[in-house]
Symmetry: C2
């Protein structure tokens, strides 16, 4: 009896086993339409910006030809509003046929032909946030549909459901994704709704079942939004930073670099902090019209290397003094760090920020070779008792890298 039960457990996959797709060994990188394009379904009057296959094909073209894929951005992700209003007669999800005439399968083929991967959006509840058909009673079928279409990434939202269901619900979709045998990166909105309900998520459980997970509200096109996310990550309630590791990362939402709401200085803050926080780098901007400076920032190889560091450790805020914060992130080679001096004040003039290397945890007697990340170029050798000093602009950042010598 015991043996038969054991065999049963071994042979029949169970949600208790967790997600097993080998993906997201470093934070995923890609593009998602939501922040910039929202839910505009009027392709007659807005053919270039509506949620339809042209938008995603255009972005795939830009990502493959514009250096984004080469830099690591590989996922082209669809958010809400891609669905037909009803499931098909076979119960299957269908893309809106007018806006996605090739279907998701056709779009996936196109995206794959460019060397990219396709992501899609669904919602655990009975409807998506925008009111399209939800997955609650169709998890198995929907997982298989996504696999059949060649989808590589699923963002599963939580509208029209009860957060108390999630401990069973999100693992169930993890199970069904495993069952397809196709590796599909699994992005869960699970903790975001738990936080929204005033509770602290069980992060280790979430990390077992999800590759990435949103744990804060949707990002908006503003400095207020970016800085509130950074504060949430700095406060690190429930120590969620400790859960981040290869295969499982906290997701502070999309990069809004290239849009309307951030200054050049603030765009650097978002890029630096998303790298320090080992966050997914999911752009949401119009790559057809992005300005050169924002594009160069998104493609900055030294910054991306810190985000993609193989240790997969999430940086932490180690000091907060008024409106000046210091963050550090351990990186390879072991004993090295990326760090950020962040100035959230808007009082006009740069501040001089200083911290002793040892106080940042940099205690190697051999010292460190320290460089500024965005511009690159070796700056100086500093020993543990030396003080790192930088001028930091208002709503700005000094993004540094200290390589152990």
């Amino acid at each position: 009896m015991m043996l038969r039960l054991l065999l049963f457990v071994l042979l029949v996959p169970s949600p208790a086993l967790g997600l097993d797709n080998g993906l997201a060994r470093t934070p995923p990188m890609g593009w998602l339409d939501w922040e910039r394009f929202r839910c505009n379904t009027d392709c007659v009057n807005y053919p270039d910006t509506c949620i339809g296959e042209k938008l995603f094909k255009d972005m795939a073209d830009e990502m493959s030809s514009g250096g984004y894929l080469e830099a690591g951005y590989e996922y082209v992700n669809i958010d809400d509003c891609w669905l037909a209003k009803e499931r098909g007669p076979d119960g299957r999800l269908r893309a809106d046929p007018d806006r996605f005439p090739s279907g998701i399968k056709g779009l996936a083929d196109y995206v794959h032909s460019k060397g990219l991967k396709l992501g899609i959006y669904e919602d655990f509840g009975t409807k998506t946030c925008a009111g399209y058909p939800g997955s609650e009673y169709y998890l198995q079928m929907d997982a298989q549909t996504f696999a059949d279409w060649g989808v590589d990434y699923l963002k599963l939202d939580g509208c029209y459901s009860d957060p108390h269901q999630y401990k069973d619900a999100y693992p169930a979709m993890s199970f069904w994704l495993n069952q397809t045998g196709v590796p599909i990166l699994y992005s869960c909105s699970w903790p975001a709704y738990v936080v929204g309900a005033g509770d602290t998520p069980e992060y280790p459980l979430i990390a077992k079942y999800c590759n990435v997970w949103r744990n804060y509200g949707d990002i908006q096109d503003s400095w207020d939004s970016v800085s509130s996310i950074i504060t949430f990550y700095g406060d690190d309630k429930g120590n969620f930073s400790d859960v981040a590791a290869p295969g499982s990362f906290n997701d502070p939402d999309m990069l809004i670099v290239g849009n309307f709401g951030l200054s050049r200085t603030q765009e650097r803050v978002q890029m630096a902090m998303w790298c320090i926080m080992a966050s997914p780098l999911i752009m949401s901007t119009d790559l057809r019209t992005i300005n050169d400076e924002s594009k160069a920032l998104l493609l900055n190889k030294r910054a991306i290397a810190i985000n993609q560091d193989a240790l997969g450790v999430q940086g932490k805020r180690i000091s907060k003094n008024g409106q000046v914060e210091v963050w550090t992130k351990p990186i390879l080679p072991k004993g090295s760090f990326a760090f950020a001096f962040l100035n959230t004040a808007s009082d006009g003039t740069p501040r001089t920020v200083s911290m002793k290397m040892a106080d940042m945890g940099m205690t190697s007697a051999n010292g460190y070779s320290v460089e500024e990340v965005f511009e690159g170029g070796r700056m100086m050798k500093l020993l543990p008792n030396d003080t790192m000093t930088a001028q930091v602009n208002p709503t700005g950042v000094f993004f540094g890298k200290a390589t152990v010598m």
Copy 2:
């Protein structure tokens, strides 16, 4: 007796006569150090950015050689922190001798040699906001000192004093400025402190004694600050917009274009709205390092022409629908308007904003030639029953000009 009294009134100038300097027939244009450079008095460690004569000479150089003076920016203004800690043995104000080795007279000569004018800062109270000697018991002497030095513009702040004094205090300085016989543009912080104390200023009285007046808190380097000022001007409590006229203008504080806190889109909002609001265009940025796009915006001739329109009428918010506002400003030729469609939302994607011309007050049966101001170029002819439509970016503006035909 009556005759003698009348003669007395006619011969001896009195504060009751108001300011009489013939200045500010259109909103003043220039530069002021405060928002960008604050009160850094450490010229040893920060020789290029401290409050000292080098900073103002550098800016005068940039203004005369960089096209700013040609565009209309003529005042180089010094804010707080220029003073020595104590008055001289003769009771006179003195510039800090280490930071202003040429004295204010020498600096004024330099600025004048470039075809520019010099502005200075004092405070009505016993001290300036930063703690330097105030003017309260030295108004006559200080007015004469400024005149002797060749000062062309005085900003008189209100720290270390009681707003209940202002009805007498600010007119008194107006009187003493008149008495010098030298035309000195007079900027009063009077209503800002009245509003700060929760009261509504007597704007017609203020307009009688001041060329320009601050009526809201100091601008900071952020969209939040800019948008809160626009809201205050849109709410127009006490109908202060009606008081604006040649010689007397409301002052929403400096342009922060070129600094760290505004996106390109938001910089256009500030420039458009400051033009619509007939505001002084007082830059506060480092003209030595400003980026080309921000510089071009500050020098935009079509925008400046609307700000400098000879009617001197302040624009008003005529509609507010959620986060979309419509503003209009009458300009010459009579019956013409500048207008703004303002979108304060940060929700990622542009909005389509429409309004019938007649609903914007544009009722001429001959119709209007409408153009976008920043880029220029005729757009279309619209009649009163036609609808003006534009795409407006998040935290963005459509800045239009409708010339009566």
